[in-house]
């Protein structure tokens, strides 16, 4: 069965510092992996995805994520955080043989000025 774990409920970072939001996954086959961001009372916005190819994926707003097959991880990163990055971030996984997309529990990112 598919599953996604986001071990941190909240991540606090000072503006200008690098940030990492962690995600690990479990699927029976090869994974499609995604990161989404949610601002208050809004739907989810797509940030980036890993389908195949280069393990380092670059996405919107300067975010990137690294696919690590041996550690079954897909951590979200940004070299220099902005206050406007403060939001709720979700990791998601889809088994390429399945139709459903499963989300993690979300990590609240707080960037202090």
């Amino acid at each position: 069965a598919q599953s996604v774990a986001q071990p941190e409920d909240q991540v606090n970072v000072a503006e200008g510092n690098p940030l990492t939001v962690k995600c690990t996954y479990s699927v029976s086959g090869n994974p499609y992996l995604f990161w989404y961001v949610q601002y208050p009372n809004r739907g989810l916005q797509f940030l980036l995805k890993y389908i195949t190819g280069d393990n380092l994926v670059k996405g919107s707003y300067g975010f990137e994520a690294e696919f690590n097959k041996s550690q079954t991880s897909f951590h979200l990163k940004k070299p220099s955080a902005l206050v406007s990055d403060s939001a709720l971030y979700f990791c998601a996984v889809r088994d390429i043989l399945a139709s459903k997309i499963i989300f993690g529990s979300g990590t609240r990112l707080s960037i202090r000025p």
Binding site: G43, L44, F46, S99, K100, I101, I102, G104
Partner: protein, 110 residues
């Protein structure tokens, strides 16, 4: 380009009343369709997904049901709402690679 419409944006319903939330997609054919619920601003729980007309997969037993009467229409329903049905409901459509979300419906059962 593809767009997804979800309505209403907010809804307040009394306990025991029926529910119908509608989601429609434009600009694509035979999409996978999904209903998620988000409680208390946290994790997304997959409720139902559909890979075609009349094909509904339920992920968790509950007070809700879903239907797909047309290719690009996905409806979430309940015959009698419970207080525990309150939450933020998100519809999404997906191709083989990613999912695209509607703006959500905040349901408050009182």
């Amino acid at each position: 380009s593809q767009t997804i419409h979800q309505w209403p944006a907010t809804l307040v319903q009394p306990v025991g009343s029926p529910l119908s939330l509608e989601c429609t997609v434009e600009g694509t054919s035979n999409p996978n369709l999904y209903w998620y619920r988000q409680a208390a601003g946290r994790g997304l729980q997959l409720l139902f997904y559909s890979v075609g007309i009349g094909q509904i997969s339920s992920e968790v037993p509950q007070n809700l049901s879903a239907s797909r009467p047309q290719d690009r229409q996905f409806i979430l329903s309940s015959k009698k709402l419970l207080l525990s049905d309150s939450g933020f409901y998100l519809c999404a459509w997906g191709d083989r690679q990613e999912a695209f979300f509607g703006q959500g419906t905040r349901l408050t059962v009182v």
